[in-house]
Amino acid sequence: MHISPVLWQFLVKWLNASALFPREASTIAPYADALYFFLLLITVVGLSVVGALIFGFAIRYRKEKHPVAVQVEGSTLLEATWTIIPLALFLICFVWGALLYFRIYNPPTNAMNIYVVGKQWMWKAEHQGGQHEINALHVPVGRPVQLTMISQDVFHSFSVPDFRIKREVIPGRYSTVWFQATTPGTYHLFCTQYCGTNHSQMIGEVTAMTPDDFQKWLQASTSGMSLAQNGERLFASMGCNACHTGTAGSRGPNLAGVYGSKLQLTNGSEVLVNDAYLRDAILNPSEHVTAGYSPIMPTYQGQVSEDGLIDLVEYIKGLNSNYRIQQTLVTSQSDQTAPTTPAGVKP
């Protein structure tokens, strides 16, 4: 964005007013648009050069004017020129595009995480406080938001044109994208990967709100249970706490504080524990056996939904001590002892 900001604002405003240009509603949008205008510029220049050559030559050397052609073999110099200049331009585009790509796909560490599950044909968004939304997503402006997304069935694609972001939502694998909304408003949310009959109905609205409004919205739409609380319940009801007790000599490894750590596995490899790893370890446990433990954990493939997995992942993520595990183990009736809301996920 090296054009003068005044000019830029003018250009974008004018384009917006003529409905030929999407709104710039995220911090990434100006970066994407800068590259877009650069590409547009070299396209127009390139097209003009080609057009000028064609029309110029066609007029100047038309048969009436130039009845006998002069044979020219070629010119290494000229050919080198139009090899090197386009190559250089394309390489600039490559570097610029790559920088933008990493800007869009590298979330900042302080981003607030929202889970998105795509299924035929709806978007489900799950906030950490347990607010569930369908075909809608409420986000605060001025705060980076990271989406951790997964599909329950086929490929979908999460696209918010006004934010200039898009990412495929893949079955069986988390994918992430982040953005920071700048202007309050509602924006289109599209599924852009063809996903079956009602593909074009798989749309929704992203509502960017001021932080205050967002807090109000969060409070108004809470379901009473945060994701982690749901996860805790699931953890108990599926009997995870039977092995992952966190006590010495337990059959399953200690889960407290495991998120973000490096784990040594029995097959010798070292892995970083992140969302994807936790999900995979629940579904394919025997391929992710922590060193020192035996592969006795059964697979939960097909027994827990993607939403449930998100709850579990979110629960394990926030697990700092084994106190609650042991407590639920004692009472073993977790859903009746309404757990107090952890401070971190206050709705």
Partner: protein
């Protein structure tokens, strides 16, 4: 021929001119003589009729799509019907029209003649590939008649394998068979070009049309089988559930994408390269000049074919390929754009110091250069990683590949059809009507697809049956353009049909072109050449042609 006239068309005296008594068209009579022929020219004509048939079916679907998109509401048809429209449009246009278009018609007709051979190396295989084309076409039509397919032409798994109840396997079988038709065509061309050249026809004396078809043939032979095996796996996944592409069984759905695009990206070069060959011939002929930098243009075809195998993952930048891999593929994508740029500039400079006339093929060629430049440059948008995130899967990409495929390939195809029509039929097409058609096509095309670039940047996703109302104005423009475009495509069908009977007798060389095909009678004899030609001149040697014409005048006249 006066020096000031604005045309190079040089027809024989229409009062005395007659079509040759004997030609490949009337050598044998009866339908069977066509259906069992080994003659590459007859097979080319049969292909021409077949692909025209499928083009108009695919075109009808395009019309229906645009009609539905006239309004934002899903009001014309139900969404699954709409999904079938664009799937059938894509499948028919890609596999039954674009891939065989120039190679199987013009290539089949001209490659043997241009290199001075009597036929392709394997005439029976050539005929077989036409039958395979139809067998595959019938499967596709069967899938259509039985209720259609709604996978899109990309057959994305697991959607195509587990979530749709349409005739996916039938369509996959059809495409599998058409794939072999294309493999056999490519194989035949490669062997012919290597083994059947006339004495003196060295590699660097070959017309550029041969070079570009050769490059496309390499892609057909090496790429298509990967598509075939992918479709086999899709069919097995669908029927038995083998799990190779099924994430619930441990398969990787991205593997399908890799294998599919390993063919389907080179496939776009299969589509465009032969078209580029046509443009080289046409530009040279109508500017009376050797193609500027012949060697560079020839090698750029081969370079496109070679690099074409290394860029496929740019279709998957946001689909979950690793970011490192995305970097590599993006870089290679930028490199593959360079040979195309070289070609465009070499063609432009071919005009320089030429003696240019503006017959219909040349108008189409100009259209090609402009539209292909836009198509190619917007490809750079999509090859740039960060830009691709916003643009992919929107109407921008739809506009981009239509600029390349329709604005590029179809323009080139029509240019070639008009250019060689006198050779194929012995008669001229009506010039003014065809110029009108060329201009109509160009205007209609731009009106249809330029708004789609804007729609794409606004974020309108592709394959949408209904869309937010603020996109309507641009969609109406696009639909209006499609109507004009439709007229532009109907016109040639009518007047070319008319010209078969009433067109002016063309004579051997109406354009005074240099290719070997123009030195024999029109329409050619079944065996092409009475005597084996010996080639002692470069391609596009207009001085040689002038010299030869002079000699003929002195000896004969």
């Amino acid at each position: 021929m006066s020096a000031t006239s604005s045309t190079i068309v040089n027809l024989p005296d229409q009062k005395t001119a007659r079509l040759p008594k004997r030609s490949y068209l009337n050598n044998e009579d009866g339908l069977l003589s066509w259906l069992l022929t080994g003659d590459h020219k007859r097979i080319a004509i049969m292909y021409l009729i077949s692909i025209t048939f499928f083009f108009f079916i695919g075109g009808a679907f395009a019309g229906l799509i645009r009609l539905e998109l006239l309004t934002p509401q899903p009001d014309l048809v139900a969404s699954d019907t709409y999904n079938k429209f664009f799937s059938m449009h894509g499948i028919i246009m890609v596999f039954l029209f674009l891939v065989p278009s120039v190679p199987a018609t013009l290539g089949n007709f001209l490659i043997p003649i241009m290199i001075g051979a009597k036929d392709l190396a394997f005439p029976k295989v050539n005929l077989l590939s036409w039958y395979l084309y139809w067998l595959g076409g019938l499967f596709t039509l069967a899938a259509l008649v039985l209720g259609g397919v709604d996978t899109g032409w990309t057959f994305t798994t697991p959607l195509s394998t587990h979530y749709l109840n349409t005739h996916v396997v039938t369509a996959a079988v059809g495409i599998f068979i058409i794939g072999f038709s294309s493999i056999f065509t490519g194989l035949n061309f490669i062997v012919t070009i290597h083994r059947m050249r006339a004495p003196g026809m060295t590699w660097f004396r070959m017309p550029l049309f041969i070079w570009s078809n050769y490059a496309a043939s390499l892609l057909m032979v090496l790429g298509t089988p990967v598509l075939a095996i992918t479709l086999v796996l899709v069919a097995l996944e669908r029927t038995i559930g083998i799990g190779v592409f099924d994430p619930t069984k441990g398969g990787d759905p991205l593997l399908f994408q890799h294998l599919f695009w390993f063919y389907s990206h080179p496939a776009v070069y299969i589509m465009i390269l032969p078209g580029m060959g046509v443009i080289s011939e046409v530009i040279s002929t109508f500017s009376r000049k050797r193609v500027f930098g012949y060697t560079a243009v020839a090698f750029s075809s081969v370079a496109i074919a070679l690099f074409g195998f290394f860029v496929w993952a740019h279709h998957m930048f946001i689909m979950g390929v690793s970011n490192y891999s995305a970097l590599v593929f993006s870089l290679l994508t930028m490199l593959v754009a360079v040979p195309s740029a070289i070609k465009i500039f070499n063609w432009a400079f071919t005009l320089q110091k030429g003696s240019i006339t503006f017959e219909t093929p040349m108008l189409y060629a100009f259209g090609f250069m402009g539209l292909f430049t836009i198509g190619g440059m917007t490809g750079v948008f999509l090859g740039a990683l960060g830009m691709d995130i916003h643009l992919t899967e929107t109407y921008f990409i739809v506009a981009h590949f239509h600029f390349v495929m329709v604005g590029g390939m179809l323009m080139a195809f029509l240019s070639g059809i008009h250019f060689w029509w006198p050779k194929m039929t012995g008669r001229m097409y009506p010039e003014s009507l065809s110029k009108l058609a060329a201009v109509t096509t160009f205007i209609g095309f731009n009106l249809t697809f330029l708004p789609q670039f804007i729609l794409g940047y606004l974020g309108m996703p592709r394959r949408y049956h209904a869309y937010p109302p603020e996109f309507q104005v641009l969609n109406v423009l696009s639909t209006a353009g499609a109507t004009v475009l439709g007229v532009g495509y109907m016109l040639p069908l009518l007047y070319l049909g008319w010209s078969l009977r009433y067109g002016a007798i063309a004579g051997n060389n109406p354009w005074q072109a240099t290719g070997l095909e123009w030195q024999i009678q029109s329409p050619p004899l079944t065996e092409n050449f009475i005597e084996v030609p010996i080639v002692d001149h470069e391609a596009y040697d207009y001085e040689w042609l002038a010299h030869k014409t002079e000699q003929e005048v002195t000896t004969v006249g």
